[in-house]
Symmetry: C2
Subunit: 427 residues, 2 copies
């Protein structure tokens, strides 16, 4: 397909082709899908040279455009990146096929048996930025889950994405599957995105990956369901009864192991009964790592004496802020109730953890915190499709509807009802 | 709350109150929720007189406005209707509490255990017409599933709905639950609906019940997810290998047992190998019951000689039409492939059944027909929350996203991830 003509007509053709391919993919056997994934892994390894040549065009353009080096880094198809996505394809091939799985089949008093069968959603659109490895991750999840997908990567990665996509199409065709099961939007025209998210006849769901602004804009304009990943204002709550040593280790890990992911902790709540014991200890760790602490007055008083600590007053806005940086907000709370209410009000319903040795408190936090992932005595950094055993992750949902939290193959499927009868009729 | 002031401000107050109530409902114990449901059942029975007095106001207004008698009938709170909804409350009270259920809790190599917990969606809005019993059905499902709901019934049933709602609020308060867990929009101003479907800060999902036009309008204007129930263009496919006697019985039941529900069959496909044997037999049944048959040329030729049969030529539009009447479209197909392709193209992805004795064909139909309910050797009329054992039904979804087909308590919930650790950190 050639995007030189009218964008709407081009996207309609892409959408219609995806819909046709989706029917064939829904019917495809596990062997063919896994064969395509293994062929793709082999093709990625065999084509490292050509992939890096295409990638070099994007890198040169990015440097010429004055992109900051961390941004250029995210674009890079290093040998390690390519090997990682190839291994990812093989891992997905080795997973059980989710499609066709029948569950909960039960006999009813009328004689019919009623159950559910897992089926693909149909066609999903994926909108993403920079990292070209997302092209392969999305394609491999689409293939395994029996969906067709339409990929819209960042314009800065177009050459890399085109080169990767050609390998995907080759693997599909060699495995006897339709090439259009994975399509890449070949134009960088922004109008293509507007069309992609407003074609319910061709697209069943859209998954945007990028900044909060992008995702909010897409959600506002979309006419199809959107699996949204907004911000991750994650909390650690240190309870009144706690293993202090462990609490320091987990809180440190949740904040500093890596500050840029959405599951990094941004806010620390400490029960008043532990504040005097816990805060100076974690404060010393944060001081050594250069973490700025934005504190309520009570926390500030307990942290002020820590040598080298960067302690400032928190404003109201701090409780709602995802820093993605060496900054944390800290508040002393009077009770578990106050902690839960604070998390539900100021958090982003992403991931929150309680550190406690008290079982009833752990269970209350688990039940009452309204977040996609709620943890007990574990680092928020575990909120991740791979860590959860999903094998792969197409995104993380901060919504409650359909998929919540890390979304793997299951989030790309739906359950239909099946009824097995022997000629029963309704009375 | 008093709706005499600005509608938007009124709806915002209702929404904010629902959000507060939802937090308490999510935390509510099973005993309190079941107590409220049993108190509601008792109150309905004890207040039959006052309910019928309120209902009489609606009936008188409906008759004065010249409403057709079948429409007036749907408004009626007969003793039987009230007893049925009271029993429904007791049945829901007797069901297991879906909230807090933990599933799939598995140990990961890192030491953490990862699983899922079923939690309420939060606040749902319900938009419906005429039948006031929906007020109690929606309220009872909201209570059991730990959600808050905002009900917007038809203006023609406002007095009845207000009387029913007062009983719901009384039962909630007597059980120690917040009265605002179930709110009824007290104004008949249509602007209230427009606001209800565009307050994502207060409302998590909207469930409209009514004509296709209403639902399409709501879906187009909503800024929150909508559980949509569009049309039911359901199919019976009679395969090449079939028990003819059974096929006649099931096809007859699927079409004529009741013609107005969405799960009644609208289109009959017959394999060419059985057409000459099957069509005259079902044609005789349809002729006796006055069913008009809109036929392809091959079917027409085989049905023309049936005494008393009303046989006409089908137009292209017939294949896409939901009649909800004593009319059926009939087509002879050359193969199972043609049947599946026809159903997926012309059906409405609601409910379709294959009548066959051939196992591979049954399995292919089950897998490849992309509908909310796919059946083998059973009447399409079974597609119903009660028949499926859901205990109750808030609606039927023709979407694939989130809930598909009959939606019971589970469709009003979501799964969050839970992580149980012993101080694990991410490496």
């Amino acid at each position: 397909m050639n995007p030189t003509d009218d964008i709407a007509a081009y996207m309609d053709r892409v959408g219609a082709a995806a819909r046709v391919a989706a029917t064939a993919m829904a019917r495809a056997g596990s062997a063919a899908k896994d064969d395509a994934l293994r062929r793709l892994a082999a093709a990625l390894r065999a084509n490292l040279g050509p992939l890096q040549q295409a990638n070099e065009l994007d890198l040169a353009a990015a440097r010429a455009a004055g992109l900051a080096e961390p941004m250029v880094d995210r674009l890079k198809l290093t040998a390690k990146v390519v090997e990682t996505v190839a291994e990812g394809c093989e891992q997905i091939a080795a997973m059980p096929d989710p499609i066709g799985e029948i569950s909960e089949l039960r006999r009813r008093p009328t004689g019919i048996s009623v159950g559910r069968m897992r089926v693909p959603l149909g066609v999903f659109g994926m909108i993403y930025e920079s990292r070209p490895n997302v092209t392969i991750e999305a394609a491999s999840l689409a293939i395994k889950s029996g969906n067709a997908c339409i990929l819209r990567g960042g314009s800065e990665a177009l050459h890399s994405n085109l080169a990767l996509w050609k390998l995907v199409q080759g693997a599909l065709v060699d495995a006897g599957l339709p090439a259009d099961a994975v399509q890449l939007v070949e134009t960088t025209d922004r109008a293509a995105v507007g069309r992609l998210i407003t074609m319910p006849q061709h697209v069943d769901v859209v998954i945007p990956r990028g900044g909060k602004g992008l995702i909010e804009r897409i959600a506002a304009e979309a006419r199809v369901p959107v699996i949204k990943h907004l911000d991750g204002n994650c909390h650690v709550y240190v309870d009144a009864e706690v293993d202090l040593e462990q609490a320091v280790t987990v809180t440190d890990n949740a904040k500093t192991q890596k500050v840029s992911p959405c599951n990094a902790t941004e806010s620390l709540l400490v029960h008043a009964a532990q504040a005097a014991a816990f805060l100076p200890r974690i404060g010393a760790v944060f001081a050594a790592k250069g973490v700025e602490m934005r504190c309520c007055p009570a926390a500030k008083a307990m942290l002020a004496a820590v040598p080298g600590a960067r302690v400032v007053d928190a404003t109201e806005a701090d409780w709602d802020t995802e820093y993605l940086a060496l900054v944390i907000s800290i508040k002393v709370v009077a009770s578990l109730d106050e902690a839960i209410a604070h998390v539900n009000r100021h958090g982003s319903h992403h991931t929150d953890t309680i550190l406690t040795t008290n079982h009833p408190n752990a269970m209350r936090f688990l039940r009452e915190v309204d977040s996609a992932s709620v943890m007990v005595n574990a680092s928020t950094r575990f909120a991740d499709g791979f860590e959860y055993g999903l094998g792969a992750e197409i995104g993380i949902s901060t919504d409650k509807f359909h998929a919540r939290g890390p979304v793997g193959l299951e989030g790309l499927t739906s359950l239909k009802w099946i009824v097995l009868g022997q000629g029963e009729i309704r009375r």
